[in-house]
Structures are given as C-alpha cells and as structure tokens.
Symmetry: C3
Subunit: 212 residues, 3 copies
C-alpha cells in the first residue's frame, strides 16, 4: 500500500484526480464527444501518468485497478462536466490552468513518494515523479490527436522536476515526509504558477538560427 493512504493525503490525491479528470473533460468538450468520450478522455490524464509509472516500475498492480475510487471520481467529474461545462465558457481556460497546475504539483510529489518505495536511483525517482505528473496529460492529447501540451512552449515539465528534486532535497535535510511534501507541492505549484502569470517559457528551437 502507498504511504499516502492516510486521510488528508488520500483526500489530496482525489482532488488531483478531480482536477485532471476535468482537464480531460475540457479536451473532450473541444472535440464535441459524447458522455463516454468525456469519461475516457477524463481517465487519460487522471490515471495515465500513474499507469505509465506503474508499468515502467513493474508494480504488483496498477494503482487504479485495486482502488475503484479513482474510476468513480472520474465518472462523476466527467458526467457533471458534460452537463455543466458550458457555464464556464470564457473563464474556463483560466480556471483550468490553475486547477491543472495544482494537479501537476500533487501528482508529481505523490509519484515521487511512490517511486521512492522502489529500489531505483534518485535521478530515476525524479523522472518517475515527472512522468506521474505530466504523462497523463500527454496521453490525453495523443488520444485527442493534438501535439501534447507537455511539448509546447510554456514551462511545465521543469516545474515537475523542480518539485520532485525539492522533495528529495528536504527529506535529505531531515524534514519529515509531511513537511517535505507541503514544501515541494508548493514549489511545483509556484514555478508553474509563475510561468502562467508571467508567460514564462523556455526558448523554442528556431529553424535557421541559434535558439539562444
């Protein structure tokens, strides 16, 4: 069992699931899918990152197979979104960006915690944290036949890497798990949030000239 199956952390995990399921539902709305499309495209970001992590680490069981709450939460979110998401037109995108940033922060640090229970190098722990936080959204975009958001301009993967490193760093300094988690979730959220507010991005490659 994962360490985060105590109440407050479990609650946060479900918040992250809600938020990412919502991001999938938004993508489904853009594609004008039916209610099953909303559920399936909602599942992709909500459980996709953790599924890739569990498969790569050869976990005993993929996490959402043994805990049905993830499925139920996604279904509820997808159904509500299907009927109510039109009310958000206009401010939808802004709300989503911030909710998504929060989901990214939560899932990255939880993925990092789970990866630490395996016998792998700390660098690979960070990679697995990043995969948990970001790959669900990539699967969502691949299913919807779009170039993944993860690969677009704005700082995204970097925020996950910063957060995951922060978690390991503060544990190393002697902080307990709860303390390190709060700080590193905040760090991920702040880096991503600053990127949203100030439009921070890494320079893209430009054909025909040095990108620097």
């Amino acid at each position: 069992m994962y360490e985060f199956f105590h109440d407050p952390i479990y609650f946060l995990t479900m918040i992250g699931t809600v938020v990412f399921a919502l991001s999938g539902a938004m993508a489904a709305a853009r594609k004008e899918l039916d209610i099953f499309g909303f559920i399936i495209v909602g599942l992709a970001p909500a459980v996709g990152g953790g599924t890739v992590r569990d498969l790569l680490l050869n976990a005993e069981k993929v996490f959402w197979i043994e805990d049905l709450n993830f499925l139920y939460v996604v279904i509820v979110v997808a159904v509500i979104a299907f009927f109510q998401v039109h009310r958000l037109e206009g401010k939808r995108y802004t709300l989503l960006m911030w909710a998504d940033a929060f989901g990214l922060a939560l899932f990255t640090i939880m993925g990092t915690q789970i990866a630490m229970t395996y016998d792998i190098h700390p660098v690979m722990v960070v990679v697995m944290g990043m995969i948990t936080g970001t790959f669900g959204g990539m699967v969502r975009d691949i299913i919807c036949n779009e170039v993944p958001f993860l690969l677009q301009k704005e700082i995204y993967a970097l925020a996950a890497i910063v957060g995951s490193c922060a978690y390991l760093f503060f544990l190393h300094l002697g902080l307990d798990e709860q303390g390190a988690m709060v700080i590193s979730v905040a760090a991920t959220f702040i880096v991503r949030g600053l990127a949203i507010v100030f439009g921070w991005s890494l320079p893209p490659y430009k054909a025909g000239g040095s990108p620097t």
Copy 2:
C-alpha cells in the same frame, strides 16, 4: 491458461481476430500503406485491446506472445486484404461495420472471462472487458493519426459495457459459462447492431449550449 482454449471458443476468438485484423487492414488501405503497414495496423486492433488488458492486470505473459496463432492469423488476413480489399469497394464499409460489431462482442466477453480469473472488483472486470473489446481499435486509430472511432458519436463503448454486465449478471443467476457467454455476446452484438441500423448515438457535447 484461459478457459477459452477449448475448440469452439478458441475458434470464435480467431474469428474475432480475423475481423479486427480486417478493420486494421481497411484503415491501412485508406492510408495507402505497404504490406507491412497492413500487418502492423492489422495487429493493433487484433491484439491491442487484450495487450492493454494484460499489461494493466500484470499478466504472466501477454496472450499473443505465447500463442503464435494470433500473429499468423493477422499476417494471413493482412496479406489477403492487401491484394483483395479493392474488390470490396462500395459495400466495404457496411461489411466492416457488422464484422467489427461481431469482433467487439466476442472480444468484450472473452476479456471479461479472462479478467474474472484475477482478484479484482466486478466493476473492474467490466472495465477490463470493455478495454479488451474497444482499445485495440483506439490504438489503430492513434497509429493512423485519427481521432479514435471509440470517441466518436455512435454507441460503441456502451454496447461493450452492456454485454460485459450481462455476462456477470447471467453467471450470477446461475447460468453456466457457455450459456452466459452466448447471451452476452448476442446482447453486445444487438446493442451495437441497433446503433448501426438506426444510427443511434449518445448526444455529443455542443459548445455554447446544454447537450440535452
């Protein structure tokens, strides 16, 4: 070993493999691929759903690795389709729809049976049945760079869920495996078939208004 490795059921599995491999070959024909393209895009729907199921359930071995007949059947179908599929122009789409409906019905119920051999919740058994029946086609469409058919308007995933639930329901009523299988394969086929005949679909989400 799977329960369905007795003759009549094994035969049905191979029929389902033929039909789904054909659906991949049709997609390959649209993209004007070469004969290897036909085989690879034929493999995707024929073994893709079961592969995802086996990976998610952490099966000992992915089913088509240990039984080469799946590969051979796909190769034979792909080669025949490459040389003969042009004869079907016109009625091709109609034939394919019905063959695909039959493949969906068979694979969903067989996936349900295999999922029952694992220690998972009945709801997850239904999810695994649906994944077995529908994800192969999704992988096919992703490879061909199209929005998956599974996500389009017509009733598809719902037919798989109805069939998978019917199988569990009739087993629960005390029917033997064969009886429950016949009824639930028929149920899946009929729901999907009615959707084809009458153009049944679930309402899609419409931007700017309630979808109901």
Copy 3:
C-alpha cells in the same frame, strides 16, 4: 543482466542510443519545441522500442530504469542538438537517414539477443527484435502527431526482420554470438541502406486497383 554488458557491445548500444536520440531531436526541431521537448522526443525513439519489448515480455525491470546511462546519453544528445542542429541544415536529412539505419541495425539485433533469453518461440524472438528496432521511432512519430515513418513507403520493418532472422540463422549454423551479431547487424544495415540509395520500397496499396 543482458549479455551485451561487456565493453564493445555496450559501446555499440550507446552509439545506437545516440543516433536514435538524435532522430528524436530532429523531429523536435521540426516542431520547434523547447529543450525539454527535445529530451522527451529524444527519449521516445532511444528507449521506446526496448520499453515496449520489456513490457510485452514482462521483464523484471525496464532496461533504462536500471541503467541511467541511457537517460544521460539522451539528455546530452538533446542539449547538444538543441544548440547545434541548425548547423546541419541541408545535409541534415542525409546524415540522419544513415545514422538511423545504423541505429535500426544495432537495436534490432540487440533486441533479438535479449528476446532469446526468454522462453518464447523463434518467430516471436524475431518479432521482438523488430519491435526493439522500429517501435521507438513509431512512438516518436505518434507523440509528434504524424503518421509513423515505419508505416510509410520505404523498406524499414523488412530490414529489421531480415537482420533478426539472419542472427538466428547464423547462430543455428554454429557461429558464435559475436560473429552472428556482426553479420546480422551488417545485413540489416545493408538492406536498409540499399533501400535508401535506390529508393526501394514495397508497393503501397492503391485504392481502386490491384497493388501488384
């Protein structure tokens, strides 16, 4: 541990990783991604084929999780490519084709060797060799939202199949692993190289007429 973790062969594996990471970086340059995009799209071909093989064969651990050098090599290649790839404009494509042919040859034979350590049928060993050599590029193209190169006109999968069969054949004749490897890597490279030089391709399916 894989047999190829002796120095000369390990060196060749890393050359293959460099070459495939470079192919990913070229794709990232086309899409004008940032430096993380270069790394992620570089990882896809460099480790994608072997990852699919390890997942399908239910390996103890996915190979690049336990050996960080693969990740480091990809990062170094992606960073260098990000800043220097514009110098290759013009001859970039030619260079890439030949480097990619070399990577295809190396990875196919190494994948074949690894597959032989599992208890599977020789035909499936060849399939796993082909998957190791070719699926990484397919994942790269799917992520970049393009119809996979593997499915395009030119001979590609066939070269991998020829090379993998050659390896098994020469082992069967009594050659030692090193000798069989040199011959079969060369065979793969030559078949692919001839296809590049002479524009060899298998006939594609043409709508409305027999493809022969």
